[in-house]
C-alpha cells in the first residue's frame, strides 16, 4: 500500500492496481475504521477498486503526520461492528423496447437474445464502489461472453434505469445521462433518492443479481416505486 498527498486537501491511499475481492474487503475495512474515528476535518472518503481518497476541509498542514495517523488507524482492530452487506435482487425488463442494443450484441456475439438475458440475469455481481453519477454502482463479475465494446458514438440521452454493458463492465444509469454503454434493459426502481436518509440503498461490498421481468410487471413496479411502495428483495450477503 502507498500513501501520498493528492493536492493540498487530500491523501490518496492505493492498493495494487487490480480488481480483486480481497483488495475490496481491505479498502472497505480501512474506510470503516476511519469513519468510526469521526475525524471532524475529514469531509469525504472516496473508495474505488484499489484506493481510498481522504478529503479534508482545509489545507493539510503536516501531511506526513496525517499519513502516520492514517497508517496507525489501518493497524488498529475494527472495534465497532461493521455494517452488514446485503444481496439485492434488482428487477430488470429486457424487452426490446428498452434493450435498444440487444440485437446488435446478439448479431456480433452470436448469442441469442434469450441467452444474453439468461447469462446477464443469472450472474451474481459485486458492488465495488459508487461513482460516475450519483448512485451509479461499479459492478464486478460480468461473464466474459458478454464483454462488448462501448459505442463509438455515445447516446446523448440514456434514460434513467437503463441497464448497460460497457467493455467488461455492466451497470445501471441511476439518472438520465449521456452515455456510451450498450443498453440491454431497464430497471423500474430508483437507485438514487435524495429524499431518503440513505439516498443510495447499495454500498461497496454488497452483491446484486438481476431478475428478468416482463413489461406488465415493469409498469407495476414503476408505479409502486414512484409512491415509495416497492420493497426490494434483500438478504444478508454471504
Amino acid at each position: 500500500m502507498t500513501y501520498k498527498p493528492y493536492g493540498g486537501h487530500a491523501i490518496l491511499i492505493e492498493w495494487p492496481s487490480k480488481i480483486d475481492e480481497n483488495i475490496l474487503k481491505d479498502v472497505i475495512l480501512f474506510k470503516n475504521k476511519i469513519v468510526n474515528k469521526d475525524i471532524k476535518v475529514i469531509v469525504d472518503i472516496i473508495n474505488t477498486y484499489n484506493s481510498l481518497t481522504i478529503i479534508y476541509n482545509t489545507a493539510i498542514k503536516k501531511i506526513y503526520d496525517e499519513i502516520l495517523t492514517l497508517k496507525s488507524i489501518y493497524k488498529e482492530p475494527l472495534l465497532q461492528k461493521k455494517d452488514k452487506n446485503y444481496h439485492w435482487t434488482i428487477p430488470v425488463c429486457y424487452d426490446q423496447n428498452f434493450g435498444l442494443d440487444l440485437e446488435e450484441i446478439s448479431n456480433r456475439t452470436k448469442l441469442s437474445i434469450d441467452e444474453i438475458i439468461k447469462i446477464h440475469s443469472s450472474t451474481i455481481y459485486t458492488v465495488y464502489f459508487i461513482g460516475f453519477l450519483p448512485g451509479f454502482l461499479y459492478l464486478g463479475g460480468l461473464p466474459k461472453k458478454l464483454y462488448f465494446d462501448r459505442k463509438s458514438n455515445p447516446r446523448l440521452v440514456v434514460e434513467k434505469g437503463s441497464v448497460g454493458i460497457g467493455g467488461s463492465q455492466t451497470g445501471i444509469y441511476p439518472i438520465q445521462s449521456a452515455g456510451g454503454w450498450n443498453i440491454i434493459g431497464k430497471s423500474p426502481i430508483s437507485f438514487f433518492d435524495t429524499k431518503k436518509n440513505n439516498p443510495c440503498f447499495a454500498k461497496a461490498g454488497d452483491t446484486i443479481k438481476f431478475s428478468s421481468i416482463g413489461l406488465e410487471e415493469f409498469r407495476q413496479i414503476e408505479d409502486q416505486s414512484k409512491i415509495g411502495n416497492f420493497r426490494l428483495e434483500k438478504k444478508i450477503a454471504k
Binding site: L12, I45, P199
Partner: protein, 282 residues
C-alpha cells in the same frame, strides 16, 4: 424574494458545496470561484456557507420583491441597479421593485450576487448548490422566484468598498501540485506541462475545462479512481481536462496535476480562448 425577469445562460445558486456524499457518487459542486463567493458573504456579514447566485457571462435582469442588502463580487459584468451603475465588492441597499441587471463583461467570467442572510432555496443533502439530478433546478430561468430574507436596508449605509487584487482575474499563473500519476510522465511530457501556454477550448463548463494544446499520451490505462475539483486529467487523445466544481467523483484518466484551491478560483474567472500556464510546485 427575487424574480428572474431574464437569464440567458447558466446561472445557478451555489454555496461552498455538498460534502459527505462523495462515496455515493455525488459531486461536490459549490461556487466555481469560492474566494469571490466568500468575499461577498463577508462584506454582508453573512456566514461563509450562505448561498449566493453565480452569474456566468450572463445578461440577466432580476426584480427585488422586498427590501434587502446585496453585494456583488467576482467578475465585473457591468451591474446596474435601476439603470445606474453600482460598485462591486460593496454592500448596496436595495428597495422593493428595484431592478438589478448584469450586462457587458469588463473583467472575469463569473459574478456573485450575495443577499443579506443568503438565498433560501431548497437544501438537498446539506447544500443548496444546484446540480442536475440532485436539486430540482440546475440553472435559473425566466420567471423563477428565488426566496431571500427581508433585510432592512438602513444598516448598509456605512459600508465601504473592499479593495480586491485584480491579478486574481488577470494572472496567467495557475498553481498546481503534481498529481498522483505525474511520476509516470516522461521528461518531454513534464516539460510540456511546465512550458506550454495553454488555451481554454470552447468546451468549458462547471464540470470541467478542456484545453486546446496536446501532451502526447503514452500512459497505460488505469483503474477508475477518485478525482477532485482541480484535477488535471490526460486523456488518450492527449487533450487535458481540468476538472471543475461539478466534476464526477471518479474517473479513469491519469491525474497528472492537481490545482490549488486558489488556482481553481482563478481559472473559474477564465473562459474560452483565455490562456494560462501551470506553475507546478514540487
Amino acid at each position: 424574494m427575487i424574480k428572474v425577469l431574464s437569464s440567458s445562460f447558466n446561472s445557478s445558486i451555489q454555496d461552498l458545496g455538498r460534502f459527505g456524499y462523495g462515496d455515493i457518487g455525488v459531486p461536490v459542486s459549490g461556487a466555481m470561484d469560492s474566494y469571490s463567493a466568500k468575499l461577498a458573504n463577508h462584506i454582508l456579514g453573512n456566514n461563509d456557507v450562505d448561498a449566493v447566485l453565480e452569474i456566468t457571462l450572463n445578461k440577466s435582469k432580476l426584480l427585488f420583491d422586498n427590501e434587502s442588502i446585496i453585494c456583488i463580487t467576482g467578475a465585473d459584468l457591468s451591474p446596474k441597479l435601476n439603470n445606474k451603475s453600482i460598485r462591486l465588492n460593496s454592500a448596496i441597499n436595495v428597495r422593493k421593485d428595484d431592478i438589478l441587471t448584469f450586462d457587458k463583461p469588463i473583467y472575469g467570467v463569473r459574478s456573485y450576487l450575495a443577499v443579506k442572510g443568503g438565498f433560501q432555496t431548497e437544501v438537498v443533502l446539506n447544500s443548496r448548490s444546484f446540480y442536475k439530478g440532485i436539486t430540482k433546478a440546475s440553472a435559473i430561468k425566466k420567471n423563477d422566484t428565488l426566496p431571500i430574507r427581508m433585510a432592512s436596508s438602513e444598516s448598509a449605509k456605512s459600508f465601504s468598498t473592499v479593495k480586491i487584487n485584480k491579478r486574481q482575474f488577470t494572472t496567467t499563473d495557475i498553481e498546481a501540485y503534481t498529481g498522483p500519476e505525474y511520476e509516470l510522465l516522461n521528461k518531454k511530457q513534464r516539460e510540456g506541462l511546465n512550458n506550454t501556454l495553454f488555451t481554454i477550448s470552447k468546451d468549458n463548463s462547471r464540470m470541467g475545462y478542456r484545453l486546446e494544446e496536446l501532451i502526447a499520451n503514452t500512459l497505460k490505462t488505469m483503474l477508475t479512481s477518485a478525482v477532485l475539483p482541480g484535477t488535471v486529467q490526460l486523456t488518450p487523445s492527449g487533450k487535458l481536462i481540468v476538472l471543475m466544481r461539478d466534476c464526477q467523483v471518479t474517473g479513469g484518466y491519469p491525474r497528472v496535476l492537481q490545482l490549488s484551491e486558489n488556482a481553481i478560483n482563478k481559472l473559474a474567472q477564465k473562459a474560452t480562448k483565455n490562456t494560462f500556464r501551470f506553475k507546478i510546485a514540487f
